[in-house]
Amino acid sequence: MPRSASLRTSLAFVAIGLACLASADLAITTLHPWRELGRFTWGLVTPSFQEGGTLGLALGKTVAFALLGVAAGSVTGMGLALIYHRRLVRVSAAFVRAVHELFWALLFLQFLGLNAITGLLAIALPYAGIFAKVYAEILEEGDRSAEPALPAGTGKISRFFFARIPEVWSHIRTYTVYRVECGLRTSAVLGFVGLPTLGFYLDSAFLQGDYSRVGALLLLFYVLIALIRVWLRPWLVPLYLALAPLLLGGSLQVSMGNVTRFFTQDIVPLGLRDGFSWEALGSWAGDLLTQQALPGVVSTVVLTQIALVATGALALAAFPLICRHFVGRPEKVVTHIALVVGRSTPEYILAYIFLQLWGPSMLPAIVALALHNGAIIAHLIGRYADALQLGPDTPRNPLVRYGYEVVPRVYNQFLAFLFYRWEIIMRESAILGILGIHTLGFYIDSAIQNLRMDHMVALLLITAFLNLGIDAASRIIRAHLRLRTTPTYEP
């Protein structure tokens, strides 16, 4: 029976999560965490919009990077979607997806430098992989009946644009707009590694304890995302894309010398640069694996598993609050706003905030991951539950109704979304290491700070393979439990 299989799987994951929790470092190390949280909250409600010009420019550049990056990723992704049946394309797309945008940015920074191209590629490349997959799925599901009726001798491109694209255009547009929203979050976070987007100013304001400025930046960002359907009008997109390069400005020059040096010298394992030997390679790999990769992988997995369970718990607890079967309209609006804030704030920024407030341990990372991902799943499940029709004999006690009527009926959908986000949580867990939690990101950042590109690239590859592994595991479990999410309904 499918439900008992779902339940068994859930319990197994909860047990793993608890075991990980026992080994995790969860200390709050600041002496006055609540005072800091209070100051931060106060900053949020008293935002300071001084130096409006800088704020506007930060926001403008965030949008410019997002739009150009997503546009380039979307065009490339569409091209790849057409040949997605080729194994090489599928594998490459999966690989570029498996590496977090921030890691791509850190990688490109090493040989392209602090350059608009670095930011654009960091968004465009992983997004191309995502678009390729989703566009291919959308095209796959589209109606192809118009094709045989086209006259013989019709060119491939004409055929594609007349007979296939219009058919699925609305799905493509919906998904692409959703990705623009993701792109804005990514673009904002890229500021933390030095690109001139929102994160750059957020980081500076935080380091100065200027919480009112942090508040202003965050509020502007929420407004930007909340109003995305207002300002992202189709006829304005070409204008935006034309203006964006002007806004990014700066030099777009790339020194081929730097690129060549990076790939031919910097990433060669240190011991092998003066000549190859198996012993040197062995000791290089041995040190890397035991001192960095292994502890990094363990922490990443521990964090991921705890965050996954916490995400699920939060989503299950929060979805009734936006569901018509449990709350009235006014309450629904309030929770809805809370969930929008939760899912609009990138995990990275949430983790950064909690880390500032509570000090470095896994706790802020878990809370950040659970809040962001839990908000997303709660939102989707809430909508799904809204569509359920409960019979007239439904129990009046809301707790009973929740436990006996609603949860059993949404549970499989819930698991589908949760396992879908498993890989995303893993990607984020790795990246949060940059903030000082000892996941893979920590070791990657250390390698960069120590100018050890050989270590960095090796660790990036390990991170990517870990992600691909989780992705495969997730697919196996979803297939086993017969869980399904459609591409355009993806969380």
């Binding site: 009726a149 006259p151 013989a152 001798g153 060119g155 644009f161 007979a163 609305s170």
Partner: protein
């Protein structure tokens, strides 16, 4: 084009033969009606003919094969994609050129769709859609038109209009039809199918409606 030829054509669908060893020759300039119950093999026969004579034949599929999100103009213009370069087609997708609109309009007027030029096909009635698909086939200017129930969704006057338009435009025609009267009045030859084999193959003049009705 000289003639259409099928030699021992067989087709299977899920291990069931839907066409069994069908051989026929259709000389150029002949108008043929395919009649028979649904499942008799008409659609399959048309598909085989279309595959074999893609270069010269325009197809009106049973499911019409229209793109509902595009306008009537665009759907009909698809019949002209092969004569224009890709860039020209793209421009017409983005913004229909006057020249092409003028090309498409008479066909729509002939089929009674003149006022629907820029309406999305998704908003049309079944009959209007069918006429759009016919217009797309006719505008190709092929010597051969293969139609799978091209008048199934329209009323009788429109059916006459459509079949007349097809006959005016094209010399060689193969139409799957279920209306026996119409079949007799617009074609020269009737091929009756039953369970994937040809059971009747006669010139129209030598057949009566009653004889054909037995096939149904």
């Amino acid at each position: 084009m000289t003639a259409l030829r099928l030699q021992g054509a067989t087709a299977r669908y899920n291990d069931t033969a839907v066409l069994k060893e069908v051989s026929l020759t259709i000389p150029a300039g002949q108008r043929v009606a395919l009649v028979g119950r649904s499942g008799a093999g008409k659609t399959t026969l048309l598909r085989l003919l279309h595959e074999q004579y893609r270069e010269t034949g325009a197809l009106i599929p049973q499911d019409l094969g229209l793109v509902p999100t595009l306008s009537v103009f665009h759907n009909v213009y698809m019949g002209r994609l092969h004569v224009h370069p890709t860039w020209y087609n793209m421009i017409n997708l983005v913004r229909p050129l006057e020249r092409e609109v003028a090309e498409v309009r008479p066909w729509l007027e002939r089929l009674g769709l003149g006022d629907k030029l820029f309406a999305p096909v998704g908003e049309l009635s079944g009959g209007q859609r069918q006429r759009t698909a016919v217009a797309r086939a006719l505008i190709q200017g092929s010597e051969l038109v293969l139609g799978d129930e091209p008048v199934s969704a329209v009323d009788l006057p429109q059916a006459h209009n459509i079949l007349g338009a097809i006959n005016d435009r094209t010399r060689t025609v193969v139409l799957a039809m279920h209306d026996v009267e119409l079949a007799l009045s617009y074609t020269d030859r009737v091929i009756g199918l039953q369970d994937g084999t040809v059971v009747v193959d006669r010139t129209t003049g030598s057949l009566s409606a009653q004889e054909l009705a037995e096939l149904y």
